[in-house]
Amino acid sequence: MFTLENFLFLLQGVPNTLAISFLSFALGFALGIPTAIVKQFSPYGLGHVADAYISVMRGIPVLVIMLLFHFGMAGIIPVFKSAFLSATFALGLRSGAFQSQIFRGAINSVGRQQMMAATSLGMNRWQAFRYVILPQAFIVALPGLGSEIALLIKDSSYAFVLGVLELTKYSDIVRKATRSFLYPYLIAAILYILITFPVANYLDRLGSRLKTKYGLR
């Protein structure tokens, strides 16, 4: 039997799911913007480093990165002794690569004319980027960032394999305890939707609203 107590127990997985998702998103953001800038300007020929980072992250399943960190590298990098942190860093690193692509698309969409106008005022490339390009690119990037958060919330479920007590792990525990095979996973599925939908939808709508306000494409 699946009871209300089971449901409340299962809810205890939500905080970790949220923590992994949002921390990895923040890490991805912190990595994504500089990576996009490096790819754009390629200072000291660093563009290739950014390319390599993106290709590697696009090519490895995130679960494999998690396993590699937690089981393979905990001896070298103590942080990875924590299953929670291994999962968060794995997702964050991949998100950095993905977010850099989102930002790059957004930066390119702002257009040469804006850069030219900034240059005509005597701004150097960095000033033009900081005050003119990036603020507009950020607005254009909002819907993409919404999808990225949704992806991270869903993929945080891989942390279950490392034994992190997040939503998927809890539903599995309930499944074993109650021998109810349908409800624990069904409830988890609904909870994932309830978490992802408002976040992604909010960023989508905020993006559309700001784009209209500022006349951005």
Binding site: Q113, M116, L121, Q136
Partner: protein, 247 residues
Amino acid sequence: MGEVVLACEGLKKRYGDLWVLKGIDFEIEKGQTKVIIGPSGSGKSTFLRLMGLLEPPTEGKIYFEGKDVYGSGLDLNMIRAKIGFVFQEPSLFRHLTALGNVKLGPKVVLKMKDDEAERKALEALKTVRLEEWSHHYPAQLSGGQQQRVGIARALAMDPDIILFDEPTASLDIELTWEVIDVMKDLARRGVTMLVVTHELGFAKEVADEILFMDDGRIIESGPPEELLKNPKSPRAREFLRRLIGGV
């Protein structure tokens, strides 16, 4: 003779195999207004972008206040800050209000304090008669208003010259007038201006000289009454006949 603000010598520009500018000598003195006319593809916009230091020339020299711009290790951004540029395409910063647009240059490039930059910006917006629109975003302004904000943005830098690249080409006739009126004001107030435009009324009223460009060269130049009434070159004659006659 006044002081020469901006000049060039043997200016050439090539894109791939195509020579867009084929050797231009030019100078403009403080307080002068010069107008460039010519068919599309004649190199007018390219010439202006080169003079605004927005693109480097392939050959030739550009002088700003007597100094060889590319030849003497000068900080190009410092010179660009002294050369205003008004574009044909809408080029206001879309995420900033009119005031924000005008104040950004003084703040970021001239390192003015916020209130000082704001005073400067409001003054410039007043000159283009848009002080009441200072808190509107570009998307909320008409094309003519946007161009005037663009002019204010250039003015707020206290430039030594402003270059205008067909600022009314994409505007309806009434919006064109409001922009042209502001530009006439500036010319009368002694702002040094180099203007690509086909508004011959503007040229007649305020230009000290009209330059006719074709095929990457300045074919003919002279005071407006002379060049507009009696163009010497057949190409200028043909161009003006079509421009005025609309044929």
